[in-house]
């Protein structure tokens, strides 16, 4: 029998005041009217804790858009889960934060789009940066773990040192530096976001130096872009191995992007118990383990480390969810990535301020759900 999930990620709403051009939400978002009700979410949290999950990541959209968030946090805490609020900060006040902490909130992860206000607002498609900066010291004093999250890409990597210094000034326990991952809106806007090799190599050095300098003070976790890696990432720690994600309307997925795989039917918590979905549903079994693997994965020494890479990326780039992840240098269709990288590296990386007047043609902003 498969072990239970370690963590549950819940996208409690797709509503969001930001329109980030690399949002991980799907291009087709479920409607606001289909969102799970408070008691339905609470039931899900209790089921997840019963399955052995330790962490609950509350995300969206913007989870603060749900007025019942405090009630949800309280129930999750009582069920024994470690609760993490992944937020843009918009909608958070000192009073609301105090209520959330009193309800048992353990950790707040606040995202920043840049260290420079004009660029940050440009990437988010709204004037959010100044509010976030004001919020940081309030979170810092609230008695919860505080993570600052920076998403990095072609438009801001040239001043990554400045971004790290900015994050440091906010005094978090933890700093997450995540390269945009090319699904959802980031894939749609990939040409504007994918860094050059020179940008990437510089950023790796800068991050490593910062990790050394800040050791014991701020823990830096860095997510590298897999397009430049020799081997694929161990996506989600393996399909249906560690994590499960529930979207606003209750659909249960092995990851943020899995809905793009057209051949899979995903179950809904309104119709099935979470335990059955995790252990027995076809969608969670489909790519669990190694039986589904094609060559060269099937006989590869790394198959138990990276699990053949990401199924969604395989589908999005090759049209076949069961193909070897094309970012792997051993993948039969790796030329798809090489071609993309050659194109991206033909022009130098641009720092955002130089191109900020080209907003209209550069990318599509994520809209609001209907």
């Amino acid at each position: 029998m498969v072990a239970g999930p370690l963590a549950l990620i819940v996208e409690i709403t797709y509503r969001c005041p930001l329109h980030c051009v690399y949002c991980s939400n799907p291009l087709q978002m479920a409607s606001v009217s289909s969102e799970l009700k408070t008691e339905e979410w609470i039931d899900v949290f209790q089921q997840a804790a019963g399955l052995g999950a330790l962490h609950l990541h509350l995300t969206g959209g913007e989870p603060l858009a749900r007025e019942d968030l405090t009630e949800m946090v309280k129930s999750a805490h009582l069920a024994g889960l470690y609760t993490n609020l992944i937020t843009s900060g918009l909608g958070l006040t000192q009073t609301r934060l105090r209520a959330l902490v009193d309800a048992g909130l353990d950790h707040v992860q606040l995202s920043f789009q840049d260290s420079r206000e004009p660029t940050a607002n440009w990437i988010a498609g709204t004037r959010a940066h100044a509010l976030k900066v004001e919020l940081a010291p309030i979170i810092r004093r609230a008695g919860v773990a505080f993570t600052v999250n920076l998403v990095v890409h072609r438009q801001n990597l040239d001043h990554i040192e400045e971004m790290i210094a900015f994050a440091e000034s906010l005094q978090p326990e933890r700093l997450e530096i995540a390269h945009a991952q090319y699904y959802g809106w980031a894939l749609k806007n990939r040409d504007a976001l994918l860094p050059t090799r020179a940008q990437l190599e510089n950023s790796v050095q800068v991050v490593a130096a910062a990790q050394k300098r800040l050791a014991g003070r701020i823990r830096i976790d860095a997510v590298v872009p897999d397009y430049y890696a020799r081997f694929p990432k161990a996506c989600m720690g393996g399909w249906g191995q560690r994590l499960m994600l529930i979207n606003p309307s209750g659909k249960v997925l092995p990851c943020h992007a899995a809905e793009v795989i057209p051949a899979l039917q995903f179950e809904n918590v309104r119709e099935r118990p979470l335990k059955w979905i995790w252990q027995e549903s076809e969608s969670f079994q489909k790519f669990r383990g190694e039986d589904w693997m094609p060559e060269p994965c099937r006989s590869c020494d790394r198959r138990s480390q990276d699990f053949g890479g990401c199924r969604c990326q395989a589908l999005l780039l090759t049209g076949d969810a069961a193909a070897t992840d094309p970012v792997c240098s051993l993948a039969p269709q790796h030329s798809l990535i090489e071609r993309e990288l050659a194109r991206v590296n033909a022009t130098p990386g641009s720092d955002a301020q130089e191109v900020s007047t080209e907003t209209e043609v550069l990318w599509d902003y994520r809209p609001q759900p209907k």
């Binding site: 370690l6 330790l54 470690y82 993490n84 353990d106 326990e173 933890r174 003070r217 823990r219």
Partner: protein, 91 residues
Amino acid sequence: MPQPEESSLPRLATGCRWTGEGEERTLLFPEGALRLQSTGRAILEHCDGQHTLLQIVQELQTTFSESDPGKIRSDVFIFIERLQQKGVVTF
């Protein structure tokens, strides 16, 4: 980063807390969890801001009186430093 010293008062960092009982007792923190064996757990359970590092060492030296006390001391210091790097313990 402050180096651990005998007079340090290690405590769990903000956002780190215990859950569960007995064998299942687990330390939870942002993006991670630790389920520790007897010694590691004993050390971490004393990281409450009330015990100095020296007291923690002495207590373990008493509990594990057959082991080399010098090795216990260095093991505790190394362990605490590792947890400090992970952001779990602070002082």
